[in-house]
Symmetry: D2
Subunit: 307 residues, 4 copies
């Protein structure tokens, strides 16, 4: 495979997309004040290769709310703790409907379709609560993965809790089905806090490095997950990682991705690199509008796609 | 990448799985007599690499009813004829429910979620009918792709038509929404006939070769699809190709696959090879039970997976 | 109970509503040309008491397409032929969703929720086909009930068949579930023809007379249904007779009613009278807009309501 | 209308059904310990006519948990306070699915289908909270209606709260849609307490007397509701009062009824009498098994039915 000048590629993507920020459209997530206040006029991108090379452009060092991107890392923690048992009451199929829909949960008796829909991530949080201090462990994992401490934005966490009626409904719904082991409030506290973690593109790109390294720690090389487990997380990201646009992401981008309503998207090129892009304005599917375009440009320029 | 002795690997898989045939369980599709009569005690596997190497084991030369695997080729024909316009009234998202469910079709006003659910394949057939003699063109395409003529099993086609009430319902439902252009009976005739095409593992493995060659004809090298189009068909196979088990296939196998209720599964290793496995007994998700296991073994032994 | 001057009351209702015809809004059913051509500027009302008194006003003698009102009479025929066995594969619960929805039919395995949704009426037609010449018997029953021959509007019947994709889907769907005994085309021919029967308000008001007379023939007094059967048809009309507005009809009108998209509504005051109102323009729920208002006025003026 | 010996009729019903108690089947509601402990071997029935005549048999004086029967009275309170505005965000249509289903609530954006499904009753409780001390007012109303104080079973109320995950989900779900005005916990406190009210058949039969008296107080005659409002509550009971068996109740019994999982059913014969029956064992639809049979016997013997 030819060497690529990734810094040049990211600079070009930044140069092409940054001028579009004022007019590209999309909407910053508005359901909580702390997210609604974020300026949409930001764009950052960063990557880290398996060889340890880094590249970054734009607002790549600005911390943002990782929101649902945290689901990749909480899932990783749970797989580490529980192995295959993690999957006893959480499915692995795309949901085929809005990311917080209760319908499927009802027809499937409280078993979430996959760990990346909200219900599934709450179920993962429940498993983590059974294992210990979930918040602390998640922060510790992320700190180790990106080589520097990360923190929870307390205001965002509070706002999540104050307005998280849908998620509270989901958790109670599962509790009613008996598929949640712990106290609803405790589980939701973990979930709301994990969504409120703030990280920069550079930090996320580094932290996700085990997913393109057969599970190996991006800095230390020691196993975070087994190779098979890492591949499976990638598979879940590709089939379920971007809400109801997963098919479209696979079709147009062809990389395992996980997005968050904070405007971030983390992507993995297996055996090559991990990447994070961020721009706060979201399209109708809840994915970062320019983030998505940046990934399309990246794939078009590099030819890197799993297909 | 190291050279692999694919013939040895396929032989080992055959040796491991063939003894399980009498006891592995699963059920041959029984909805039409011609399929119900097929002996479940058969297993075949074949592949063809981009370098033109072939390998095969078991009942790899026995023709079987390709059923829904035909959807890959009818989609290919439609993309060739219509380009991006193919997607005007067909989605690209996983369906998240039973493969012939009408529910999603109703809530989405007659737009099938993707071209691999029955409704979507009927919509593809409708587009082909608008372009010319769909049956003849599909047979011609398949004949060119595998280098020898393929035929429709007339008895199977007749049985499909006699018992295809669900598919007739789907077609009428779309016609009622105005998302089908042609006469229902004409469209269904194409659909029922494409499902009744008979091919062997060796033929299918060869025919699918353009999907691992950036769209290039497996024998002639000339473009069947563009590279981007071929990648996108692969993406659709991975996210939507195996009914409601697509997530599980991605998780455990990690290759673009398309299965049929005749017991065949075609799989693609991008840039490497195309593969077909066949064993008639199906699991609860409608996918070949031993075919699925064969693919898991293949991936475990070769390490070939897109993730 | 005091004697009421029903002729005066119907005249007053006609006087009050007729001037509203040009501006009241609503839309004539447009899915078939023969219905779309009907002038919306028509309003008729007629009733017949158990004592044999008749009253009528407006366009009460103009024949119109009875459409789904025919479901009351086909159900009656089927109950006469099959008794309790009529209910083996047809439910009696309100559907809680659009009158031709397939969703419930799927989740309930081809068993229609009640005989007044389209799927249910098709299932009733299927039972009638098993009994003999369903069209002839239905016409004969209606002729006996209103004392003069009624006929099928052949153009409407043809149009129903030409555009009845949804109903064809429903029938095939049930056939796929095995809940339809006869050939789909034969059953649909009965269904499309029963919907195309033309009758006037006066004829319908007379024909429905057995429902307010404990099942007794409106003219001859001989049993059409048993008293319990007649009560049960009334109960079904009240809970399921007006599509997804049944609750609203019960709330505001409080009488067993069955409407049709031709703009007719037949209503029953148990032990007192049967009534038919007609005005072609429909509201958003598919019920006659002024017909509904006429029934509200009738109930307000007479105090006649089952509650 | 002929005078009927109601005491004789109730005695006969009691004599016929009481021997069936040990073998009739059905299951006492088990979701909270206080309900699960109730002996299923109980049967009571009581009625009160518009003339003030009372009749009772069996365990008619034993207090039981009225559960969802309370929804009739909380609705009455809300109509008194808000008039037509009560209906701004609560529908009047049968739900066509399980009584605590979230599905319809989602597709209809947080507007419950009717005030008798759990979501609807929680919405009614929300309106009452906006008006004042809902619990106190409900107890006061019930006390006035049956002429003696009624109380809340504190243990049942506590258990409802401890296990009410589904209802908590429903309330949070509506809060997320913005269709609940007050704090979720406050609203649920009212709802859980109203369900825990304990009354006897004799008390309920008396209290419901305004529904058969055109809204007039059963003892004092003063208006509780207007005549039209009372008729409409009856209509809602008939179409929506018995979970997913409302059609079957209308078909077989033909009276406005409201059931509760405590095993009670209150029924209304407009212009004649109000009736309450109680037996704790429930059938598969959540309605009292012998209570339902008692109502069928009552209707068969008296001929009293609205149809």
């Amino acid at each position: 495979m030819p060497a690529m000048d990734f810094q040049l590629i990211l600079d070009e993507i930044n140069d092409e997309l940054r001028p579009l920020l004022p007019t590209a459209g999309g909407k910053v997530a508005s359901y909580i004040p702390a997210l609604a206040r974020v300026s949409p006029l930001q764009f950052g991108i960063a990557l880290r290769t398996n060889a340890g090379q880094t590249a970054a452009a734009g607002d790549s060092a600005v911390p943002f709310s990782i929101q649902s991107m945290s689901k990749v890392f909480s899932l990783t923690l749970a797989i580490r703790a529980l192995g295959e048992a993690m999957w006893d009451r959480i499915g692995r199929e795309p949901s085929g409907s809005s990311f917080n829909s209760l319908v499927q949960l009802e027809s499937e008796h409280g078993i979430p379709r996959n760990p990346f829909i909200n219900a599934g991530a709450i179920a993962v949080a429940d498993r983590l609560v059974s294992q210990g201090d979930a918040k602390a462990e998640l922060l510790a994992l992320l700190g180790r993965l990106c080589g520097e401490p990360v923190h929870i934005d307390a205001e965002v966490a509070r706002s999540e809790a104050d307005t998280g009626f849908r998620n509270t409904a989901l958790a109670n719904f599962m509790k009613g089905f008996g598929t949640l082991d712990n106290d609803v409030a405790t589980v939701l506290d973990v979930y709301f806090n994990q969504c409120a973690i703030a990280m920069s593109c550079e930090q996320v790109a580094c932290a996700a490095g085990y997913l393109c390294r057969d599970g190996g720690h991006p800095l230390a090389g020691t196993p975070v997950l087994s190779a098979a487990q890492a591949r499976r997380v990638n598979a879940l990201m590709l089939t379920c990682g971007t809400y109801d646009a997963a098919g479209e992401f696979a079709f147009r981008i062809g990389l395992p991705c996980k997005s968050g309503v904070g405007g971030g998207i983390v992507a993995v090129v297996p055996d090559r690199l991990s990447l994070c892009v961020w721009s706060p304005a979201l399209d109708a599917t809840g994915n970062s509008l320019l983030g998505r375009r940046a990934l399309e440009l990246f794939v078009a320029r590099t030819g890197l796609s799993v297909f």
